[in-house]
Amino acid sequence: MRAAILMKQFALALLMWLGCQNLSLAQGLPDAAVRQQLIEAVLAEGEDQPEKIEALAETGSGMVAAVLAQWRAGNLLVDASPDGAKVLFTREGIDAVRLDTGVKFSPLAPREVETTSKTRKAIKNALDLIAVASPDPELRSAAIGKLGMTRNTDYLPMLEARQVKESDPGVRKALVEAISVMQLADEDDVVCIAAVRKLGEMRSIPSLDLLKGMITSEDESEAAKAEAAKSVALIESYLKKVEAAGTVFRGLSAGSVLLVVALGLAITFGLMGVINMAHGEMMAVGAYTTYMVQNIFGGGLTLSLFGFGAHVPGMNLTGAAYQSYFIWAVPASFLMAALVGIALERGVIRFLYKRPLESLLATWGISLILQQLFRLVFGPNNVQVSSPSYLSGSFVIHDVVLGYNRVFVIGFAIAIVFVTWLLLTKTSLGLFIRAVMQNRMMASCMGVRTERVNMLTFGFGSGLAGLGGAFLSQLGNVGPNLGQSYIVDSFMTVVVGGVGNLIGTICSAIGIGTVDQTLQSVTDPSMGKIITLSTIILFLLLRPGGLFPTRTRSLEG
């Protein structure tokens, strides 16, 4: 969660800053008036509470910022003292510190001080005002940007004063943008036009709406309108570039998702020729394993097995240790899905190697059974899988948002393709796999235990599906229907790439992902999906071998 991180960074930065100024709460330099004002604002229940909160910013007190940040994060608590008065306090580690006196005490019945979105908005405005003076340039820019968008000219002198002493280039840019936005409403047309030009030069996306509004406004001079039109054109052409870059990135990431879900299938279907309709459920096994690992790291979970509740105790970890659950969940998902896959291969599929159509049907039956088992064991609802902090948040480069999870999935796709490639080309198992897939009879004559190789190959393919599931848990639902959403797509990816060709699968995954994202940006998602699918069908009808058809004599028969 970006907001949470920002908030933490924010609180941390503030505390550091306060430490420097020897204003730390723990040391409790009393500033009775400020404290009283704070308490009044917190306890105010009327319509004027937001105003009172924003007024706090003017005190310029560092303590105010710290308390407000605590409040926003839910760490400002209230305790009813024996005489009935409300005692506000903050948590400093395990200690409770009274807000009115700054001394430690033991609360009796603490309760979070509630916030509504209105109060939180006010807190945020106040914090933004305070943050303009923050030592962290990123926080400063963000705060300045937000103040700018309020278009409240009262802040203008403060921002201009700030501009004089600001040295950080990023913050200077934010200041110029904020000031220019405010100057748009300036009475002097010259200032206004200069601001318009400035915003255009800066390619300021947030001000696009304002500038567009100016073009049609009756209150603007013709010169200002003309300038606004120019700036709008500049910003819009920049926006187009941002969108194009974004679409490429999104296509790459969507393609990686496809690749992650289809790679397992490329092994079981492409190499072994087994149509595993339960492939989607193998992904669900991986995703549910991630869920279980998460809960074992956390507070445990209760599974219901045919009416009997089975409680799995948790380790009650918190913080970074808890966050690391995902790192453990990845191999666990692989193993669990591989085990289920091996069981499936031994129990059903091995009887059907010569009857591919029937393996399709039998595995569909299995997929129905697995889906319902998920419902019975984990409940019919989706389950919660939270994203660890290192997978939430994003980089922003030139206004293109690159989510951590998306970047990660691209990296992950590359990693598993590499591992698969290594396994198939550099290990003896890989050699056996390729031998068995090319000529089962011959391999078996040469002493390869084909049964075992089949089992392991299928296990490996299923394990890859499990890995895919672990990653999907970071992007979407974890529920009984998880597999169904991906099964058609993954089959299409493998077939378009050319069955039995891993390079083909990679190319088709990236290709389909990019086409899909591009279509989504020009039409709507539904039409995009329909067009993509129809194109794939038509492509396959005309070129049944896919992108990289396997040209061997044995397959042409």
Binding site: R551, T552, R553, E556, G557
Partner: protein, 252 residues
């Protein structure tokens, strides 16, 4: 170039993923001739048959069929080539296992093969007679009502040849007819093929040199997709080049 040539392949090339399966192949077959083609594994024998029957498209060159000028067959579909009178028996016996022996021959019987024709086709007594004749030739008359799947391996091979006969094919392409047969069956097959030569032109692909000796008048040796030499069995066996590439490595 005799005017009696029925099949001519000139400058034929075919590559799979860079591997040249057929390399500048020139091959001529006379009408009524029984030709045996031999060659080591991967010499392109089966690929050659695939090219003639349209199962695989050639990269360059041309194949013509028919006496006189000959009709080019390189761009025709399988069933069109078949309808010109080229029938093929596959390496592994390929009959309709769920049909009776009689029906197998019926499906191969010469005649109209359109969708609507088959819907309303009636079995005439002429057709019945023809089928029975064919069954007698291949020695399966007694099994005419059995499921083809229940036949022994050799019998399936004969049934497949029977299907080609029913079609009245001018050119029979027979891929390893003796594979997996007992000596006695092999001999019988040889006699069957010999009896058919003359009425039909035949290309036989074979490994079994005993069998080749039995049937072959003229042998073509393929090596790396190219005709290495042609001649009688003895000529071929005495050819030093052939010995080095083929016989020298031991047969089969």
């Amino acid at each position: 170039m005799s005017s009696q040539v029925i099949l001519a392949a000139e400058g034929v090339n075919k590559a799979f993923d860079g591997f040249k399966a057929i390399n500048d192949l020139n091959f001529y077959l006379d009408e009524g001739e029984l030709r045996t083609v031999i060659g080591p594994n991967g010499a392109g024998k089966s690929t050659f048959l695939d090219l003639i029957t349209g199962r695989t498209r050639l990269d360059s060159g041309k194949i013509t069929f028919g006496t006189g000028v000959g009709e080019e067959i390189t761009s025709k579909k399988e069933y069109e080539i078949y309808r010109m009178g080229i029938g093929r028996k596959f390496q592994t016996p390929s009959v309709f296992t769920e049909h009776t022996v009689f029906d197998n021959i019926l499906l191969g019987l010469k005649g109209h093969r359109g969708v609507f024709h088959t819907l309303f086709a009636k079995l005439s007594s002429e057709d019945s007679d023809r089928i029975e004749d064919v069954l007698k030739i291949v020695g399966l008359f007694g099994k005419r009502n059995d499921q083809a799947g229940s036949l022994a391996h050799g019998q399936k091979q004969w049934l497949e040849i029977g299907m080609l006969l029913a079609q009245d094919a001018k050119l029979l392409l027979v891929d390893e007819p003796a594979a997996g047969m007992t000596d006695e069956e092999t001999h019988k097959t040889g006699e069957l093929l010999l009896s058919l030569a003359g009425k039909h032109s035949i290309i036989v692909i074979e490994h079994d040199m005993v069998f080749v000796r039995q049937i072959a008048k003229k042998v073509t040796v393929l090596h790396q997709g190219h005709v290495l030499c042609e001649g009688t069995v003895d000529d071929v066996q005495n050819d030093p080049e052939v010995r080095s590439v083929y016989l020298g490595r031991g047969k089969h």
